[in-house]
Subunit: 185 residues, 2 copies
Amino acid sequence: MPRNSDKHERLVEAAKHLIHQQGFGQTTLADIAEESGVPLGNVYYYFKTKDDIASAVIDEHMREFRALAAEWEKQPDPKRRLLAFLDMPSAMRDTVASHGCPVGSLAQELNKEHSPLAQQADNLLKAHLDWVRKQFRELGRADADDLGLQMIATLQGVSLLCNALRDPVIVDRQIKRLRVWLEAL
Amino acid sequence: MPRNSDKHERLVEAAKHLIHQQGFGQTTLADIAEESGVPLGNVYYYFKTKDDIASAVIDEHMREFRALAAEWEKQPDPKRRLLAFLDMPSAMRDTVASHGCPVGSLAQELNKEHSPLAQQADNLLKAHLDWVRKQFRELGRADADDLGLQMIATLQGVSLLCNALRDPVIVDRQIKRLRVWLEAL
DNA sequence: GTCTATACCACGATAGAC
DNA sequence: GTCTATCGTGGTATAGAC
């Protein structure tokens, strides 16, 4: 067990970045070892398999999401919470243009494999969706489930197109549109 | 040069299906050879590299898109052309739930590599986008570019979520919403 | 707990017989 | 043109010294 060392943490952090940039399949254990400054063979002291690293990365994404959600929930009403949520993709516009959405692209990749990792990534995406839907419900919308899906789908689609067209301005424009849409709701 | 043989065609067709189902990285030449009934070593008579096969697959997608577009363009007005366009994802709802959008997921995967294939897949996605934008322009909309992006982004996002949640009904509902939106435009 | 060296295997690609 | 056999590389995972 990792004790007084931060190597475990460094490995997960390196894997998180590399997987976002290169995808899970393209990222080798050697890449992760190098980026985190841990010798290759030593990686197996912390993780039994490559899949275990990916699993830890998804867990980390989930923790980060929960921490952000706790921040957004400090807003006094659901509409402002949703607007706060939109700050996330806005702030990531450049990295989205370069590598897409870290959670959406990972989920899509893992869903092509038959590994149980896919389910875990899907749950992460579902956590985003559920949180947004909850806000729409608190707004009193009977069609909260559809609205939430519409919002997350738009963000995922915009990320994909923004990445394919390599144009961060797409994120700006479409998020602005979503803000207007929210305000008017 | 392939002449009186359909092996070339069978290889591309097999690769197209397998890449959609498993992704490009996960699909091996052995898979493609087996599915198309061509011996492994013989694949290299038709394609110099694995990338060349992917390139041919993307070309094939492009041809199919152009053929469909030619059909849609038989509709008398742009609104009906856009509605006809939406029949495609509707008809594919089950395979989208199983494996995502064949062009969107491929583009996202290839954009994580540094290969020139990414550009080719991006062009395919852009062809879809350009066609839709053209229809909005012919509808007389000054914001045609935004509307087109909004529509393609929605479809891509819906495909991704539908795949992650494994629920084809999501496609039905959201396409229905898009139809209503179009009618009202 | 840490690191080196290496086993082992899958896959892309090639050689060369027919 | 077709197919078999095989090479070489690179990547996951392990053995075992320190």
